[in-house]
Symmetry: C2
Subunit: 143 residues, 2 copies
DNA sequence: TCGCAAATGCAATATATTTGCATCAATTGG
DNA sequence: CCAATTGATGCAAATATATTGCATTTGCGA
């Protein structure tokens, strides 16, 4: 098994407790987390917020973590484990977020259209759905 | 023709110069803009930034404007004109953004999957592609 | 274990967004 | 067209988010 420490070292970066914790937390979370949420989940002694930001941006640049843009003030992050691709459903009413793995993510057609018409070389994409989650939908129906 | 002023009044909100300018700027722009960019494009006397924020959030809530989440620090906004749906391609290298209208946006299948598995009532979605634009792609190839 | 390169904490700074409050402007009724 | 009222605006301050410089500490390979 490849430990987090090994992963960091293999990529040429010292493994530190903070880094391992961040990665562990993201891997364990089913939804993308904000830097603040991540830090709050690290057991004391907690690293400084600036350290969390620095490490997140390092981890994004070496491909261990992806940033996720929802319609919020802060960005969120998720583990890029193995490269599994995920989409998200966000409830406009309560803010609940669910991540899911598409059965088959067939946007290849769209991606080649884009290459053809805009000349863009697409490497990845981000797809989010917005609406009302089951719970909020019910509440709304009762009224 | 329906003027911006009429649109606001019809929705029960006074039409002010700032509001009309914001809407005009968003309608004229081919890509989503940040609050700062929007404000910079308003001819003097410019409204205060807080006014721009307040108006953007009002316009989002009454459906005239949509917010767009790219992987940036600030949110962006676009006119929700008639409801035309758009996707975006973002260059990771130079930051260039292009908006385009999909030939046919067939995510209805995915949306019904989501309703089925998560119980989410999806009202809209957001799809962004990331990669290298034509220009940056060429530059990179030359090296 | 030693030494270096890199990471961390801390404080300061930058940027983005929100809010309270006094003032001003757009609408509506006269 | 004018006055009254409701709501918008400017300004300043507060808050949230993110970044950076620098002195100190830590991880890692020799």
């Amino acid at each position: 098994m490849r430990t987090a420490s090994e992963t960091f070292r293999r990529l040429g970066h010292p493994a530190t407790r903070g880094r391992e914790e961040i990665l562990r937390i993201l891997v364990e979370s089913s939804i993308p987390l904000s830097p603040r949420e991540i830090r709050e989940r690290i057991p004391a002694p907690r690293p400084d917020p600036s350290t969390v930001y620095r490490n997140l941006s390092l981890m994004v640049s070496i491909g261990l973590v992806r940033s996720v843009a929802l319609h919020e003030r802060s960005r969120r992050y998720e583990a890029a484990t193995d490269g599994a691709h995920r989409h998200r459903a966000v409830c406009r009413l309560c803010g609940r977020i669910e991540s899911f793995q598409p059965k088959r993510c067939d946007l290849s057609r769209l991606e080649s259209d884009i290459r053809g018409s805009l000349g863009f070389d697409v490497t990845d994409h981000s797809l989010e759905f917005f609406g009302a989650c089951a719970e909020c939908g019910e509440k709304r129906a009762k009224r």
